[in-house]
Symmetry: C2
Subunit: 155 residues, 2 copies
């Protein structure tokens, strides 16, 4: 089956990446039954904390089609996405998500996305991340400008 | 006050970005009371759905210090972060978050992060994003390899 074929490629990438010194994660983006982009986690190899496999694959796929909207694309991730990657999948308007390992499998080897999933649910005053609002009135100026700007590109 | 100074810079970036055709968002990362990196939202200008101001600022800051861990850094965002950016802030181990506009302010001008915040809370079987697990046993091979790999760089 095709979905197993694409997942096997994501898994293969995740295994290769461990051998190359990276994290055990790979992702493949598929459009019209063909691979549009594939990527591995490169957090430690490129010193970029946002460089999870899914984020890297989305950035690559968008670049390839020259658009920020990946409508009609599916993503195959070797592991259930963390909240950063899951949110990116929504922003990119990807249609289907297939994953191999679960969050709990990831937790078992030391990747604890659960902490972030838990924090996100809380009001900012309750989070472990110290958070404070400042200068709301001044910040609103940009929003008013955007709201009145007739040529804006919505996304 | 310094926190107002840094927030004013984030706001200034957000206003400039609207004038340059981008989304109304700016972010500044501060270390040792100095700006380490600053960025704007470039989703539509670079065709990258992950290129929110905070993600761009984190990527730039990590590149500058040549490390994926932004311990000791604070982030000033002109708007309360979406769940993608909030998660990235956790992954980057940023210490404090200051924001100007709220999520509700963003919603009022058409940026509805609330949908993603709501989806994240749900089990994957309940989300609007169609999600399916495949080949768990095969995917676990990468995790076993990682778990047994003595030279791995944890993050």
């Amino acid at each position: 089956m095709n979905k197993e074929k694409f997942m096997r490629r994501a898994i293969e990438l995740s295994i290769e990446n461990v051998k190359n010194g990276g994290g055990p994660f790979g992702a493949v983006i598929v459009k019209n039954n063909e691979i549009l982009a594939e990527a591995v986690n490169s957090v430690t190899t490129t010193n970029d904390p946002t460089a999870h496999a899914e984020i890297n694959a989305i950035r690559l796929a968008s670049k390839k089609i020259n658009h920020f909207d990946l409508k009609g694309c599916d993503i195959y991730s070797s592991c259930e996405p963390c909240p950063m990657c899951l949110s990116a999948i929504y922003w990119a308007r990807i249609e289907k998500l297939y994953f191999g390992n679960t969050k709990n499998n990831a937790k078992d080897i030391g990747f604890d996305d659960a902490h972030i999933y838990n924090e996100i649910k809380l009001h900012y005053s309750k989070r472990s991340l110290i958070t404070q609002q400042v200068l709301n009135n001044e910040a609103l100026e940009a929003f008013k400008l955007w709201d009145n700007y007739s040529e804006k590109i919505k996304y």
